[in-house]
């Protein structure tokens, strides 16, 4: 299937997804469940990668700044800027595209091949709306919190690594993470995070929803979903950066 056909199909899918839900009360409880499944369940992985990446950024920066002319606060500053601007939004987005994306594509895909989606339709329920809308809303709501968590954990990771290895002076690091702080960068990253949250949920849902065949095709759809949502995240990253930081 070519790109344009897919874009058309995806647009029609979104029209179904964003129509009025059958019951508001049901939607609300589903959103809560998805927040737990997609967000709370991802806290572990976000904490682990952020902690280690923060540590590595700090150490790399410290070892590359042996020149005495460079100010000491630069290490903390670099760690903060890396986490804030790029790592906690884009890299965490890519990791979640793998974790959450494959989960969503295989969940919805197996519902398709076992006729659970047909069962919803025959009851008179808009299945795309019922299954996908709660996921999109939940991710757009919870992922910004994951972003903020990642920034804090990353900076802490840098501090711990720098301090424990004796490469960074604690006071300098703390100076650095407060140096030349631009609040708008947080707005910029939160917008990116929300857009990525949409990509991470909508694209895998799309691939899962239109699976034809059996278990093998579900696996294939899940791979495609992860690859394509990752590419879209990178693309959106460039576009949003150009628009928002110009």
């Amino acid at each position: 299937m070519n790109l344009f056909e897919n874009v058309g199909k995806f647009s029609r899918f979104l029209v179904l997804v964003f129509s009025k839900p059958e019951k508001g009360k049901t939607l609300f409880s589903q959103i809560i469940r998805e927040i737990d499944k997609l967000g709370i369940n991802s806290i572990g992985i976000v904490v682990i990668i952020s902690l280690f990446m923060g540590a590595v950024i700090t150490l790399q920066t410290a070892y590359n700044m042996l020149n005495p002319l460079l100010p000491d606060y630069l290490v903390g500053y670099t760690t903060r800027e890396s986490m804030l601007l790029e790592f906690s939004s884009t890299i965490v987005g890519l990791i979640l595209a793998g974790k959450v994306g494959s989960n969503i594509a295989s969940e919805i895909g197996s519902m398709r091949v076992t006729e659970q989606i047909d069962a919803l339709e025959i009851m008179g329920i808009n299945s795309a709306n019922h299954l996908v809308l709660p996921k999109i809303i939940a991710a757009i709501f919870i992922n910004p919190f994951l972003y903020i968590l990642s920034v804090f954990v990353g900076i802490t990771g840098g501090l711990l690594a720098g301090y424990l290895t004796g490469t960074v002076n604690l006071a300098d690091y703390i100076d650095g993470i407060q140096y030349a702080f631009i609040p708008y960068y947080i707005t910029y990253s939160l917008i990116k995070t929300a857009v990525f949250a949409f990509i991470i949920t909508a694209i895998p849902s799309f691939y899962g929803y239109y699976v034809k065949g059996g278990a093998l095709e579900v696996g294939r759809a899940s791979t495609k979903a992860v690859v394509n949502s990752s590419i879209l995240i990178l693309l959106a990253n460039v576009i949003l950066t150009q628009i928002l930081l110009k």
Binding site: M111, E115, E121, M123
Partner: protein, 250 residues
Amino acid sequence: MITVSNVNKSFADLKVLNDISINFEAGKTNLIIGQSGSGKTVLLKSIIGLHEVDSGSIFYNNRDFTSMNLKGRKEIRKEMGMVFQGGALFDSMSVEENVLFPLDMFSDMSEKEKKDRANFCLNRVNIQNSNHLFPAEISGGMQKRVAIARAIALNPKYLFCDEPNSGLDPVTAILIDNLILEITKEYNMTTIINTHDMNSVMEIGEKIIFISKGNKVWEGSKDEIFDTDNKDLNDFVFASELYKKIKKIS
């Protein structure tokens, strides 16, 4: 009553349904029989609108389902119950939640009334003490029974079953068949069952429609099957040695 009138359906170059017209009667079990791949599932899914037909019409008690928009169809779908081939239970929900689901979505009942209704339906299909198990934790026969309970939760006028006893042992298969027959009588539903199982035909077939390669070849009662001189139907019905013997005796 459901009327199918001159329905045609193709997938790309493959013609799957060829000018099919059938009257499915209320209060009866209507059986669509035919070989694997003959078009039974496509016909059933066309009747309920999961496939769009290329031409022809489908009427639910004289209401033209084919020409309706999504909103009109949704109203009629609330009068339908369907038991899918694999059961199609929601595997993220427990047995009880599966049966509660249509009630949650479409009834104005109180929580207690919904629970009572769900338990009534589960009792009706002889499922007790399994409310909190998940579909993966129960046998195939139980899954089919829960699927029936879910399908009848909202008191449907029309019940559809796609190979309800496929993959079940002969004893459980007959139990499921008879359960569907009883429920059909109890609520005077128009029931359509797809099957390729001659045991079902003999057990519960009231009106039988035989399709072969997308054509309706024959229709009649189960007693008439033994006297038919239609070759395709004979080949289908008397494929097994057992039925060849029965034919000789009768």
